[in-house]
């Protein structure tokens, strides 16, 4: 237990406005591995944290396209190849009849892509996260707003970063260990 490594520094703020300003200031200093933990979405915070657009959309569109192809292949195989049958004068593989299934499979796989893609990007599920070692982090689900700077940030320095977080209004500035 003596060989613990630093995960980062976490600071507590009292209001959405306070964390918004703090986020703007800390990213202006050149910190990049900064994240916010808030009880509810704070509008514009991801911009203040200078976070780029999410890549989730690309995962979703690929899954959706896969759903379309799979549905078409499946129905083509079943209706036109494996078990050909003419029903009420329609051709075995008639495109209008394939649309609802194609749509549903596209939605299903897009949904899977969105949920499991989000899990993958966030490395979820996991049983524990170092940030829970912070003494007041439980209030992130209630009435406090937290800013974290990870130790892997090139600008990270345990004393200077901590001092900076205090100077911009952070309370309970703590070094959190893995």
């Amino acid at each position: 237990m003596s060989n613990t490594t630093k995960w980062g520094i976490v600071a507590e703020f009292e209001s959405p406005a306070a964390i918004f300003k703090a986020a703007e200031k800390i990213t202006a200093q050149g910190y990049t591995k900064v994240d916010a933990h808030t009880p509810f979405p704070v509008h514009g915070l991801d911009k203040a944290l200078r976070q780029g657009p999410s890549h989730l959309g690309w995962i979703v569109i690929c899954c959706g396209a896969m759903g379309i192809c799979l549905a078409q292949l499946m129905m083509y195989w079943m209706n036109a190849v494996d078990s050909t049958s003419w029903v009420s004068g329609k051709e075995p593989y008639a495109w209008p009849s394939t649309i609802p299934i194609t749509f549903e499979l596209m939605v299903l796989l897009s949904g899977f892509g969105a949920v499991f893609g989000m899990f993958g990007i966030n490395r979820l599920p996991r049983l524990h996260h170092p940030i829970f070692n912070h003494s007041t982090i439980h209030r992130a689900t209630d009435d406090r707003f937290f800013l974290s700077v990870e130790a892997t940030d090139p600008k990270f320095d345990s004393t200077q970063t901590a001092r900076f977080l205090e100077s911009i209004g952070g309370k309970h500035v703590e070094i959190v260990e893995e």
Binding site: P41, H43, D46, G89, P96, S97, I99, P100
Partner: protein
Amino acid sequence: MTATANLTAPSLEQLAPHVNPRVKEGDLGTAQMVLLGLGIALIGAAWAMGGDHFYFSYLVGFMGVLGICLCALFFTMVQHITRAGWSITVRRLAENIAGTLPFMLLLFIPIVVGFGKIYHHWAHAELDPLKAGYDAVLHGKSSYLNSTAFFARVGVYFAIWISLALIFRRGSIKQDQTGDPAISLRLSRIAAPGLLLFALSITFAAFDWIMSLDPHWFSTIFGLTYFAGGYMAFFAFVILLAKWLGTKGYLKDAITVEHYHDLGKLLFAFMVFWTYTNFSQYMLIWYANLPEETRWYGDRTQNGWGAVGTILLFGHFFIPFVYLMSRHVKRNGVALSIGAIFLLIIHCMDMQFLIMPTMGGHAAEGAEAVHDAHEAVMNISFGEQMNQYMHHVSWMDFGCFVGLLAIVAGLTILNVRRTNLVPVRDPRLAESLHFQNL
């Protein structure tokens, strides 16, 4: 006096002093007159040249533009009933577009004049069982489809639409002066029965004015497909109107890129919804394969209309679906405006596809002859169909749509000049001014 009577919302001046709340005296007057003049000239020219074709073209234009005005009213009511905050700065434009509905009653006159020609299939149907050419189906429908009931319903529809449009616009303007939040509450309560009346009236208006052109045919989803296209066209129109006002220096800081992003999403959504409802209609008819239903689509494979159907499939769905999908397009003024103009043209073609094939159509012929004719054109190529379409399409179909759209745009600008550009004392104005997409 209750406690709430003393509450007033902060004004635009307090919230955002840099936003210009009003059009400068005399400004935009030229544009208004040019649009009104262009509209009247186009309709006049079509009327002078058109003959019978004019009335059908006029119906194309009228139904296309009416959908925009009606859905402006719908948009206003939906924002009230959901107590939406983001849309407050856009809502006054919608109120002003819906404020042209009293003039739409005036613009309905050519349809009254051409009534006997447009709706001749049922207006002059033979209802006497002992006479030749007796139409049993129309006899059965005659208690609904007769000219007295038709014109009575015209009165009911316009009474509903005009009174709702005036209630919402006047209430909102009154709030500009008093800042009374109770007005917002009252309007959100009126919006609930208002939406119910709106849904019924637009559905039956679509039945009466478009679906009855082919009086044997019926589709219960038809009113919804008309609404879906109209709502999409409304978003296209309001985007263009706001962008244009932006170039004139108005509303720029009130309707921001965030609002355009959301309007773009709704434009995309109702473009897709149009496809959804139309495909629902098509697939059920195709699947059941009943001659009395399939003939409507059969008629739309004749005389090159199949080409228009294909154009709608791509132009009303596939192309705009890919084009408007990206957030970058929706947040780029020029790109979004191009999409909006394109979809307005497609909306006109949609109305054309619904209305024009019935002009001098096959309603009186036997089902067998029609079936044979349909079989014959099944294998004609797109290019050949397009050729046929170009042969008998008239500039008037588009001319009337553009003309009526210009008139409505001119009248909207007239309304815009007479009111504040945004609801300046709406209690949710601050939320709208600071609105951000996540």
